[in-house]
Structures are given as structure tokens and as C-alpha cells.
Assembly symmetry: C2
């Protein structure tokens, strides 16, 4: 089974300035794991049209899917839709379906310039419904434009799943040990070499209060049996080395 | 004053899988703001040498500084040092200063293969001292290699500040309003156009329990007076439009 790949392009000065802690990557990453889609790369760029266009064009050619977050609201710094239009070299104009959704939702006279802006999209884009705050996202070819506000993005994400090619979920098992990483490094590498359909990662953690170190060893892959066998071998070497 | 630019390259399967929530971007971003250095881009890539080399070479040519996090530990999946060596086309070998630090720290016989691996770096690299867990990071030209474990990275970061060209800090002021974003969009754009040495961002938030929407308007820049004036104008338009 060939790997399905994807990337996230975050349009977000607020993340790059450190004012906002991004939590969209982790949400999307977990959802994609369940769908058997690999998240291969994330980029966070400024609200700059040229940068968005360059990066989007690189990512959409390299990966099966690109998910963008942020920049589809009503203000001057929301330039994602315009930038995606430019990346695809298509007209940036009002999407009549989106326009009708907003027209029906807002009381007469309240469909102002900012709200109309939210109906402007790349020509040929199709809508991603927004059950929470109405203004839709959109997708064009393999690019899915989602809002940056986590709660809104999260309610919209399920609406795109039916469009995606999915695969067996990526499962992962974690083994924790009190041994130091450097002690088990060599044995872990041997297990990794033996199970090439699994990915074995080693993530140290350290409790600075109790001065106790430890490692989470994460075995992941799509072949449940293989992940299980690799996990058993990891547990075996930990015991052999006197760890727990 | 010309802008000082930077980027972060996160080497992290654990972030891309959704198992780990990255918090290093926000920490580094905030530190850089204080130093007047713009964080212009972040990339998160897999533990794959080819990808690390390609992305590192793009970023180090484009920005004044690149900070990498992750992948400098003792296990098989720690390939950042080797990848940086390849990107710079220099030998990947034991750094004698790092070797001596570890040799002096560990009891005799405990400087095992994994620990020795942590002393291997690009030839010509200089050390970033690690007050917490001893094994140093390193820098070569404009690339700073830091560990991925937040607490360790955070204790090491101050040790690189003296190397960086710094500038006036980037200050930011936030104005919160209960008005909807679309209502103030046009006026905000006018203020943005007037103050081109400030960056004005608009970030909606929504309390789903109380059904109350609102917006944080963030004005940032290096010119304190300009930021202050732009802020006053934002407050003025909010009052004019009946908001608070």
C-alpha cells in the first residue's frame, strides 16, 4: 500500500510572534493518523502573499494533501484565499454558494464588506461547511483552506474527511522505561533495523524535581502485528538491561 | 534599521504524529521578539536526512539565523548533527571539547556509544553549553542546533544570545473589543495603511458558552510611539462604532 502524504501550511503572524500557541497541528495530525494519512511536513509562514504562494505551490506539488489554517476571515490581514487563487492562477472572486449562505444567515443590511470578503475564493473552489460560525472554508484540487480559530477548524474538519483517500490507521504503542536513552540506544537501533515497517522513536523525559530520567519509546506503523512484535522486543531489552 | 530575520526547523516525528504538542516555537518566538529578531518561518520535518538537508539549506540561505530543535540525542533516530554536517558539506566527527565535557562528567566506563554519539558534530562547530543535562548543542555559521526537550532547550537558549545580532525589541499592544471582526474590518485596514511601520493583526475569539464573540486587535512594531498612536486610533474607532 503506497503512503498517503500531507502537509499543513499555517498562515499566522500570531504564531510566529509567540503571542498564540498553535494547537491546530496536533489536532489535524491526530485526525490524519486515524485516517492512515502521513503528516510529512508543517510550515508556518507570515501573512505575506508572496510567501504563501511560494510555499503553497511547493507543498501542493510535493504532497497528496495540503491543509491551510488561518487567514480566511474578514480583515485586511486575511489574505489566504487571495493567495491560494494566485498560487493556482485562477480568479479570486465571490463564490455564489458561499454568498447565498451568508446572505440567508445575516439579517438584511448586515452583509457588510468584511463578510462579503469571506465569500471570495479561488474560482472553481468547493465549500467546506461551517456548522459553528457559518462562513465556509473551501477546497481546490488537493488544497483545503480552514480557519485558524481552533474550535471552528475542529468542527469543520470532519466535513472534509469524505473527500480524502484514506488508508489503514497508523497505530502507535508507547513503552516507558526508567533507563537512560544512551543505555538502550544500540539495542533500539537493532530492533529498528529488524522491523522496517515500523518507526521506532525515542523521547527522553526528565523529572527535574525528583532527578529521575526516563524515556518513552514509541513504536508506530500500520502493521499491527509488526508493531506488537517490535514492542515485545523493546520490553525484552529493557528487562535484560535491568530497567523497568 | 534593517530587519533581522530567522527561522526554526523542528526535527520531530513526534510532533508530526500528533503525539507531542510542540511548545518550543512559542518560547523561541518570544525570546526573539525581545531581541528584536523577526521569526519569519517555521518548518517541522520528519527524521529524514534528505528532508533535513534540503530544508536547512533553504532556510539558512534565506534567513539571518536558523534554530533547529530536536534530533541531537544518543539514539538511532537522532540524525540532526549528521544532517547539518551534510548540509554544510563538512565532516561529521567527534568534537574534542564536547568529548572532554562528557568524559569528565560520566563515571569511568559509562561513556558509552550513545553518549559518544552526542559529541559528534559538524567539523568547525562551536558548542552551546548545557547546564542541565551536560551534552552540549552546537552552532555552525548561522545555524544553532538545540535539543527538542523543552526544559533543556530553554536552559540552553540564553547561552546563544551573545552571538546574535540584536535590534530594538518588537513590542505589541492588544486591544480587545466585543465588536465582530467584520464590523471593524474596513476601519482597521485604514489604520494599517496609515501606520506602515506597525503590523496590525485581528484575531477573533468566541466564547461558545455565553455566545459572545470578540476580537483581539494586536498592534506590533519597533517604534513605540507609532504603536501607541495606532492603538489610540483603534480604540477610537471601537468607541465610534458603539463597541467596548
Amino acid at each position: 500500500m503506497s503512503k498517503i502524504t500531507s502537509s499543513i501550511l499555517i498562515i499566522g503572524n500570531e504564531v510566529l510572534s509567540g503571542r498564540t500557541q498553535d494547537i491546530n497541528v496536533q489536532f489535524i495530525a491526530k485526525e490524519l493518523s486515524k485516517l492512515g494519512i502521513n503528516l510529512s511536513e508543517v510550515r508556518i509562514v507570515t501573512d505575506n502573499k508572496k510567501e504563501i504562494v511560494i510555499n503553497l505551490n511547493q507543498l501542493r506539488k510535493k504532497y497528496d494533501y495540503v491543509f491551510t489554517t488561518g487567514g480566511i476571515g474578514p480583515t485586511h490581514d486575511d489574505i489566504t484565499s487571495e493567495s491560494i487563487s494566485e498560487a493556482f492562477n485562477v480568479e479570486y472572486s465571490i463564490n455564489s454558494e458561499a454568498y447565498n449562505i451568508l446572505k440567508n444567515f445575516y439579517p438584511k443590511g448586515e452583509l457588510n464588506e468584511g463578510r462579503i470578503k469571506m465569500t471570495k475564493m479561488p474560482k472553481g473552489a468547493r465549500l467546506i461547511k461551517n456548522p459553528l460560525t457559518v462562513a465556509p472554508g473551501f477546497y481546490i484540487e488537493n488544497v483545503y483552506a480552514l480557519p485558524g480559530v481552533p474550535k471552528i477548524m475542529q468542527t469543520m474538519f470532519p466535513n472534509i474527511i469524505n473527500n480524502l483517500n484514506i488508508s489503514d490507521p497508523i497505530i502507535s504503542e508507547t513503552v516507558h522505561t526508567n533507563l537512560f536513552e544512551s543505555i538502550i540506544a544500540k539495542s533500539l537501533e537493532e530492533i529498528q533495523n529488524k522491523f522496517n515497517d515500523c518507526e521506532i522513536g525515542s523521547y527522553p523525559n526528565f523529572d527535574y524535581k525528583s532527578n529521575i530520567g526516563g524515556v518513552n519509546i514509541v513504536i508506530s506503523g500500520k502493521n499491527i502485528l509488526s508493531v506488537k512484535k517490535a514492542k515485545d522486543e523493546v520490553i525484552k531489552i529493557i528487562k535484560k538491561m535491568g530497567g523497568k
